[in-house]
């Protein structure tokens, strides 16, 4: 076990896979000599050279398209989109080409690639540099979607994503870059599609992702300590594949469920969880399903406003408490 930051875990994870497989290559803007604008790829250029770690022009369509073409012909490219908001610039490549080509060709092409991206709010970067786009990707058949909340999961899920034969959207949360955690020694792989129960509880289920996980856990501790509410917290870790079983089993136990989402209100991943539970878990439910989300607004840049927009520990506590008490 070594303690790593979430930031360092990213380069560590990529290095682990580049060491293992010479077909793993990395491209993106400033990922090479500069080590990435968030220093997420530091040292990789020096270690693996310019052939395997390539800087690109500001050409997201070409970056992602090239990754696809390379993946179709034998490489396992990892491409960085500097901010997840920039997925919009290359959404055709992602949603129409990469996601659909295997199906359209009846399996003739295989597209093993990872699109990594700095996702989420917290740095006061405003509406165009702070979005959480994992729900955009979840809505597109043919994409796998991963969003780790800990350094260990960064390493384990990155390994699984790179080894996976399908395209994976890998969301690295900006607000977690400085977070520290233990990472197992040696090769570490966490299979896609398995949620983690990060806190056991009996009274309600709280489903969270990425930066919302530590907040949900902290909120759960306060709910337990201050209000006698024992929340089970689930870190989904991957949206596709989605670990429906873990969620349903938890709701069966708790009879109540909340989602904690950083994304805007409408059609965040929580809507899908709610819809699934309102169908497959309906008979377990004792109370309305609560979604704690950012309002349906673009994200503001001012720190005061950004902090108000994104679900906070306080808001999670008070919302769950209000609803749990109303339902009693």
């Amino acid at each position: 076990m070594a303690e790593l930051t979430y930031r360092a875990a990213i380069a560590h994870a990529i290095a682990q896979e580049m060491d293992r497989d010479p077909n793993v290559v990395l491209i993106g803007e400033d990922v090479g000599a500069a080590g990435g604008v968030f220093k997420l790829t530091e040292g990789l250029y020096e270690r693996f050279g310019g052939d395997r770690v390539r800087d690109t022009p500001i050409s997201e369509q070409a970056i992602v398209g090239a990754a696809m073409g390379a993946a179709m012909t034998g490489l396992r490219p990892v491409a960085e989109l500097m901010f997840s908001d920039f997925f919009a610039v290359t959404w055709d490549m992602v949603a129409n080409q990469i996601a659909k080509s295997r199906y359209m060709t009846d399996g003739q092409v295989t597209i093993p690639l990872v699109l990594r991206t700095a996702n989420g709010a917290g740095l006061r970067f405003g509406a165009q540099h702070s979005q959480s786009i994992e729900s955009w990707a979840m809505a597109i058949p043919g994409l796998k979607v991963v969003a780790p909340s800990t350094p260990a999961d960064v390493v384990g899920l990155m390994a699984a994503a790179i080894r996976d034969d399908d395209p994976v959207i890998f969301c690295e949360h900006k607000a977690l870059f400085a977070a520290k955690g233990e990472v197992p020694d040696g090769e570490h792989v966490v299979p896609l599609g398995r949620a983690a129960i990060v806190r056991d509880g009996r009274d309600c289920t709280v489903v969270a992702l990425a930066a919302m996980v530590p907040k949900a856990v902290a909120a759960a501790e306060r709910l337990a300590a201050d209000h006698g509410i024992d929340a089970e917290v689930i870190d989904l870790r991957t949206l596709v594949p989605l670990d429906v079983d873990t969620v349903l089993a938890s709701v069966e136990k708790t009879s109540r469920i909340f989602t904690v989402e950083e994304n805007p209100r409408l059609l965040g991943w929580g809507a899908e969880i709610a819809a699934i539970v309102a169908d497959e878990g309906f008979w377990s439910l004792d109370a309305p399903i609560g979604r704690i989300t950012t309002p349906h607004i673009p994200l503001p840049s001012a720190s005061t406003l950004e902090d108000l927009a994104v679900p906070s520990e306080d808001r999670i506590v008070s919302e769950i408490r209000r609803r749990m008490e109303a339902a009693r």
Binding site: G65, M68, G69, A70, M72, T73, T105, Q108, P141, D166
Partner: protein, 337 residues
Amino acid sequence: MVDAVAATPDLDTALRIYRTMVECRDFETRAQELYFEGLVRGTTHLGVGQEAVAAGVAAVMRPDDWTFCTYRGHNHTLARGTPMGPILAELFGRGTGLLGGKGGSMHLTSVEHGVMGSYAIVGAHLPIALGAAWSAQYRGTEQVAACFFGDGTTNIGAFHEALNMAAVWKAPVVFVCENNRYMEYTPIASVTAVPRPAADRAAAYGLEAIVVDGNDPDAVYAAASTAFDRARAGEGPSLMEALTYRHGGHSRADPGKYRPDDEVAAWKARDPIPHYRERLLATGADAATLDAIEAESKAKVADAERFAREAPEPDPSVLETQVWADGGSSWRGPAHG
């Protein structure tokens, strides 16, 4: 204009080119009839009149080179040797179609023949072809990616990004613009700032301006030879503009009436196939050989039609296969157990 002096196909190659053109023409002509019979479904985009480009470029390609083309991709798919029957069955939407009925005319792909896909969203495949070229470069295989697209495609962003990045990376990709003067129904000249939509942009990527008579397969062959040699030698991409014309409309039932009659007539008079026949006869081929090629082509098309007519509808079970590499489409995590 690059003239045909640089590299000239030998007789065998020229006959191969002729065969390709004839087969493409016969296939598409019949496919269009079958569209009007209601057997070809969805949409089709014919390359009738443009065969010389597909045939001329394919003639310089190695079997392990890659073709990336568009919805107007029958010619390119055939030119690499993909069998006609499964293509036609795909156009019929049948289960033994080239893509099992999942892709249709606009997405013809035969990885086995180096046909890495037909792309239906304008411009998307230029970066993708560049990516394949990058992979060849990285692995040192000397494979080359050929990427075909229309004049209208030169005005979309992906064109620009792909050309620049390919040039910077010296990627072994040959971009071939089939300038048929129209983007669907709109004349390219009315929406493009330069007269030669591809060639007049080449300098923006540090590339040579290459314009070639797209109705002359030898000219195409010559230009393609140079471009492929350059790519294989590690000297980077080329962008060539082949001037040509589609005889028919943009797609399906479009009669192409937005085009002046005399323009259509002039280009039909420059039909690449009879012209090439003349040239072949003039340069040593005998008529019997050409007649045989034509007859064989007709027979192939007839066989393909039989295959397609007899092909079964797709089995309903395939609806949910091949989203993922495991062959399935489940979005749920593995069952706990």
